[in-house]
């Protein structure tokens, strides 16, 4: 290195460290002013459809909270959404968490898909960022002892158990016409985990699993899988997939004239989707789904449904209302914490008893990050609408089981 080069180097590194030192106060100053909330979802890639609905739900909630006066205990501080795109890939989700951390977020809501949530909650834990998991049903997400991770909705063990029990109830009430089951699931964490739980518990109640088929995301041709279904002729089909594949599977079945006695979805991607019901009414008719759902008797749910359906090309799906509730849950925690510091919010979430929601969960109670009251409902598509059929206290219509095409 020549003398000139060394001087230049020293000059540059001095300038750099001065700049860095000047930069630091900016980060600590971020505590006052708006409360930054990371909103992280897969808005591009194969989960784009669901991811965008998740973002919509979160943004509606943030807008409502802000126009209602913001966080009152912080002097009306507004919530500021820091949007992130996980691109349907866990590693991209992680890098978005890193970016959000550098921007000084107080909490993160996301990231919809179990595989992505597993990675992002862990990345957030590194910086003690409270992470409210909006959907991600894999139980591992809340079973790793991460103090920052909270899930408002149910995990797939809870959903699978409820689904199996309710399926048995429906089958028994109808005189046990169904005994064989075929499971078609998507290959990532959510589908595989759900399928494993179902396959291990159904035989105990007397059901024979004829086949468990997994498929990739995306799959654009279900001809072979439907041909296998035709050959095996199961009484019940249990699909567990994301929206596009669920829709294509059912449409291919219709195309090939394959109609089992019941399509009983467990966390079916399109089964309780108003979009699916609207676009393919004859395919969706009769489909049963054990999935996230709102209390159909709660006026607040109906009001939000009306608001969302009034928007152009939007549908009131679980992605929307779970994210809506997750943001409100977070806002309640920030309110009680009286602070936008991450540790304070984690503390507030851990002791949350929030009950101003329209889910059939009762007051919130987190044990190891899981809301213990969370549970799914069982819906059926009847007469062009989605109605809750089980449990009885939320019933809107009587279930039709088995289904005659």
């Amino acid at each position: 290195m020549t003398r000139q080069n060394r001087r230049q180097f020293l000059r540059q590194s001095a300038a750099l460290s001065a700049g860095a030192a000047l930069g630091f106060p900016a980060i600590s100053r971020a505590q006052s002013g708006p409360v930054k909330i990371g909103v992280l979802h897969p808005v591009t890639g194969f989960l784009a459809y669901s991811g965008n609905l998740c973002r919509l739900g979160a943004q509606i909630a943030i807008d409502e909270i802000n126009s209602g006066g913001g966080i009152k205990s912080l002097g009306g501080a507004r919530l500021q959404a820091i949007l992130g795109d996980a691109q349907s890939k866990p590693e991209v989700g992680v890098s978005e968490v890193e970016k959000m951390n550098e921007q000084g977020v107080s909490a993160i809501v996301g990231a919809y898909a179990s595989a992505i949530c597993l990675a992002t909650s862990q990345a957030a834990a590194k910086y003690s960022i409270p992470n409210v998991v909006d959907v991600g049903v894999a139980d591992q997400i809340v079973e790793r002892g991460l103090k920052n991770t909270f899930r408002f909705g149910p995990g797939y063990r809870t959903v699978a158990e409820a689904a199996i029990n309710d399926l048995h109830i429906l089958n028994t009430l109808a005189g046990k016409p169904a005994s064989t089951v075929m499971i078609v699931h998507e290959e990532s964490l959510f589908g595989t985990g759900t399928a494993n739980l179902l396959a291990s518990q159904l035989p105990g109640l007397g059901y024979r699993i004829v086949e468990v088929v997994k498929h990739a995301n995306p799959t654009r041709d279900f001809s072979n899988i439907v041909l296998r279904m035709k050959a095996l002729n199961p009484d019940i089909l249990i699909p567990a997939n994301y929206y596009n594949e669920y829709a294509l599977l059912l449409r291919t079945m219709k195309q090939q004239n394959v109609a089992p006695k019941a399509i009983y979805s467990v966390l079916g991607g399109a089964a309780s989707s108003f979009k699916f019901v609207k676009e393919f009414p004859d395919v969706a008719n009769g489909v049963i789904d054990c999935n996230h759902w709102y209390n159909p008797k709660d006026k607040r749910a109906l009001a939000l449904r009306k608001k969302v359906e009034g928007m152009k090309d939007q549908f009131f799906t679980y992605e929307v209302f779970l994210n809506y509730q997750s943001v409100y849950l977070l806002a309640d925690a920030i309110e009680r914490a009286k602070s936008s510091r991450r540790e304070a919010i984690i503390e507030a979430l851990a002791h949350s008893t929030w009950d101003k929601h329209f889910m059939p969960y009762g007051p919130t109670k987190f044990v190891n990050g899981q809301n213990t009251g969370a549970r799914p409902l069982v819906m059926q598509v009847l007469k062009g609408d989605i109605s809750v059929v089980l449990p009885k206290e939320y019933r809107q219509a009587d279930p039709v089981f088995p289904w005659k095409a």
Binding site: A48, T219, S223, I225
Partner: protein, 292 residues
């Protein structure tokens, strides 16, 4: 599973899918046969063609089959220009260079598409997407049936072009003996570019037939290039009949394999067949034996 109606339906699915594979492989085998280059960008160019068909449908409402007379010439022009201006120039005549150039082209195209269109998977809906044709009990989707006959028609056209026209004769001459062709006055650079153009025109046709029953995203080409190579080597490099036969064989193996072993494991059948052919008949099914 050995029920005949099920097997028959799977067979027909395989044949229709194989026809599209064959069309993709035809372009590849022509490019290899004439230019003696392995076009690694073939999959990425198919992806470009698919996006073309997609946007024609999404923005202008043009039916994918109606888009054929637009896509095929457009892809031909693209291929001609690519060969004349990019591949030919950058290669400096050396085959190893051209390999890298096409690989580079593939990477550039894929990431340009990612930047321009994001990684979302796009599909189109047409009135006949879910209609089926009943063939002796097997319900085959209409787009697939159209793809089958379309691919056969394009292959026949290509064969006629190569064997009956002067251009075809020039192409065959350049393929057989480059220097000799130059000596008798054939514009070899022009023939290279035309062949590349025809190869891409096949991709344009394949895209029109493929999109109604498939999807497009920036990575979609990767799956196809692998299968196309397998078919070209299986059928014999440079052989049209080989590409056609290879396409059908691979399509049927993939379909039946998927039926028996599941979608992911079913792919193994293709590569087992590939290895078997290479072991027992390395020049491919219709390959011309070793070149002197």
């Amino acid at each position: 599973m050995l029920d005949f109606p099920i097997l028959f339906a799977s067979l027909l699915n395989g044949l229709t899918q194989g026809a599209v594979y064959a069309l993709v492989a035809l372009g590849l085998t022509l490019i290899y046969g004439v230019l003696h280059i392995i076009n690694f960008a073939h999959g990425a160019l198919l992806m470009v063609a698919l996006y073309g068909v997609f946007f024609l449908n999404a923005r202008l409402g043009i039916d994918p089959y109606v888009a054929l007379p637009v896509m095929v010439p457009a892809m031909f022009v693209l291929g001609y220009c690519l060969q004349r201006l990019v591949v030919g120039r950058a290669g400096h005549g050396k085959d190893e260079n051209i390999l890298l150039v096409t690989l580079g082209l593939a990477i550039v195209l894929e990431n340009a598409a990612l930047a321009a269109f994001k990684s979302d998977t796009r599909t189109i809906e047409t009135a006949y997407t879910f209609s089926t044709v009943n063939l002796a009990g097997a319900m085959i989707a209409v787009p697939k049936v159209i793809a089958f006959f379309g691919a056969l028609a394009v292959a026949a056209l290509l064969l006629a072009l190569i064997s009956r026209t002067d251009l075809g004769r020039a192409i065959r001459a350049v393929a057989k003996e480059r220097q000799g062709a130059r000596i008798v006055g054939i514009d070899v650079e022009h023939v290279f570019a035309v062949s590349f153009g025809i190869g891409l025109a096949c991709l344009g046709a394949a895209a029109c037939f493929l999109l109604p029953a498939y999807y497009v995203n920036p990575q979609v080409g990767n799956g196809f290039v692998l299968i196309a190579f397998t078919i070209v080597v299986l059928g014999g490099m440079g052989s049209f009949a080989g590409a056609l036969a290879g396409g059908f064989i691979v399509g049927v193996i993939e379909s039946l394999g998927g039926l028996w072993l599941g979608e992911s494991l079913g792919q193994i059948g293709i590569f087992l067949a590939f290895i078997a052919i290479l072991l027992f008949r390395p020049q491919g099914l219709f390959g011309a034996g070793r070149r002197a």
